[in-house]
């Protein structure tokens, strides 16, 4: 039995929403970061699904690009988070508003 494409899309939408809402409501930087990853992978899932539904390899290719970018982002993002935690024992996203205009 094959799972219909719409289910995947639904799952991806749910994951994306969870990620988005999490990003907006949580203050812990690490959690926010994980939410971003969640959103990215939700998008990946969408791409793969459409690639299969439309029989177009392009969707799968894009996923590779997204993964590469996500990996790079993880490296930079985690580095920033680690250096923030070195300076402050406890930090939420709202404490760090140095770029306030």
């Amino acid at each position: 039995m094959t799972v219909p494409g719409a289910w995947y899309l639904g799952l991806a939408a749910m994951l994306f929403t969870i990620g988005g809402v999490g990003l907006l409501v949580r203050r812990n930087v690490l959690i926010m970061f994980m939410c971003v990853e969640l959103m990215l992978n939700a998008v990946n899932l969408t791409f793969v699904t459409f690639a299969r539904m439309l029989n177009d390899i392009g969707g799968q290719v894009v996923v590779f690009f997204v993964l590469v970018v996500a990996a790079a982002e993880v490296v930079v993002g985690l580095a920033i988070i680690v250096s923030i935690f070195r300076r402050r024992t406890e930090a939420t996203a709202d404490d760090i508003s140095l770029l306030k205009g």
């Binding site: 988005g20 990003l23 907006l24 203050r27 926010m32 996203a93 709202d94 760090i96 508003s97 140095l98 770029l99 306030k100 205009g101």
Partner: protein
Amino acid sequence: MIHAVWLIPALPLAGFLILLATGRKLGDPRAGYLATAMMVGSFIVAVGVFFDLMGLHGEERRFEQDLFSWMQVGGLDVHVGFLVDPLSITMALFVTGVGALIHLYSVGYMHGDERYPTFFVYLNLFAFSMLMLVLADSFLLTFLGWEGVGACSYFLISFWFERPSAATAGKKAFVTNRVGDFGFMLAMFLIFATFGSLNYVPVLEEAGTLAKGTASAIALLLFVGAVGKSAQIPLYVWLPDAMEGPTPVSALIHAATMVTAGVFLMVRVNPILDVAPGVLTLIATIGALTAFFAATIACAQNDIKKVLAYSTVSQLGYMFLAVGSGAYIAAIFHMVTHAFFKALLFLGAGSVIHGMGDEQDMKRMGALRKWMPITSGTFIVGWLAIAGVPPFSGFWSKDDILLGAWEKNRLLWLIGLITALMTAYYMSRQVYLVFFGDERWKHTDQKSSEEALTEPDHEPAATVGAGAHGGAHGDFKPHESPPTMAYPLVVLAVLAAVAGILKSPLEHWLEPVLAHPHQFTSSSGTKLGLILVTTVAGLAGVGIAYAIWLKGRVEESAMEPEVLRRAWFVDELYRKVVETPGRALANFSAFVIDAKVIDGTVNGVGALVRAGGSRLRTVQSGFVRNYALAVAVGAVAILAYAVARAG
């Protein structure tokens, strides 16, 4: 030698460049001698070229030298080149000759001035510009020299720029000249549009084919230029003020360079003028009026140099009268004799000023012939020449002009005749006041009431010692000037006395330059009668002055009405008509347009950006989650829009 014509302007240019670089090191007086040597060299080359040109015959007496291409723009290809013909070489000869004498004189006159080398830098540049003007083979190159003499006159008139009056006079000369230059430029545009060339040779050869309207327009515009440069009504006002410069500069401007440029230009373009008879009449009228008008003013001036200045304006009027009458050769002849006797008179006046310890008021001079024998002797020769006493040079040239005017229009002739009488009168007045009569400089307390009217600051800062009016009184004794100043006077006096013999050679010599050789048509009886009348008028002027200024037959002040002393209030009129509205416009531009409108716009834009920025900065909260929300809302909005459009 004729191929060395480029050396004539090149030598003063070299002098200018050398002095510019090393003038300070050379100092006083070597810088002066270097400049003089350059002018003498230039004169020698000019003489050589002259003899080479004389070796050619009639119509062949023309030599063109093309040096290099100056600029090429579209159809306009301007070359730097020289046109050597009887006219240009005549001009070059007396510009370099008289110029060299004036340079030599300046060596002595400027001695002790703190900017001595600079003076000679300007003087050489001045000579170079004038030589470019006369030797150029195209209108544009002439214009280069034309502007050059304008700029140099500005530098030199305001040479003692510490004095506000000198600085103002320089500006006045420059601005007034610019008005005329405008006419010259427009004329060049029109010539180029008509002929497609600015070179003299093709333009003047085809001038006969011009339509009358075009020819009149070109002639009129060129005349506007000449009016500015040669100080005719209504643009003559700068010339009397130019007296603020050092005296050798006055001599150079009035005699050899600058003011003769306008007359030269008119004679140069005589083929165009011949096609425009209306403009010729205008030129003759303006010339006669200027001659008369300036002569009346000269009758009532007390400054020794101001008299000569107005006399120059008047004599230039004569030259334009001659041009307008079609007697081009008479104009050039008078220009040459005038160059001699006016240079002589100016240098003589400078010598007097020098010897009197920087006194310029004639009412405080007198009996100087005992103290300054060379100066007074030569000055008297100059006086007789300008007064038209036979057989001195001025007599011959003035006579030719009046003959031309007689044939053109009897009224113009009458004005010219009256002017001749007045010329003799005011020059005699000057000579009697300066060299004869009582030794008025001995009486300190005798202050003439005219003093308040002459400008307060007359002393040239240059010459030795005292420098103030007081120097001319008390134990003071006038003294003769040093040899470098006296020798040029003697040379010029000889020339001014005998230049009349140039009359018929010059007529023959200049003939190839003219499109239509001008012949006086009057019978020899008429000619003789006119000569007699002119001579009588000149002698009458001398006699009247003798009765008034030496014998005291008439109350002196009656001969100097206020209106003449103040030069018919022309300066006041110009101030009202030109300066007042001009100043109002400038104030309006500066304090309303600039300060309010332009600054307001610029500052307004700045204020707007600042205000907008301070409002918008609150958006930048620094909270990452705020930004994320904004991104989310934005994404949703775009999606909604896309969906709505698709639906």
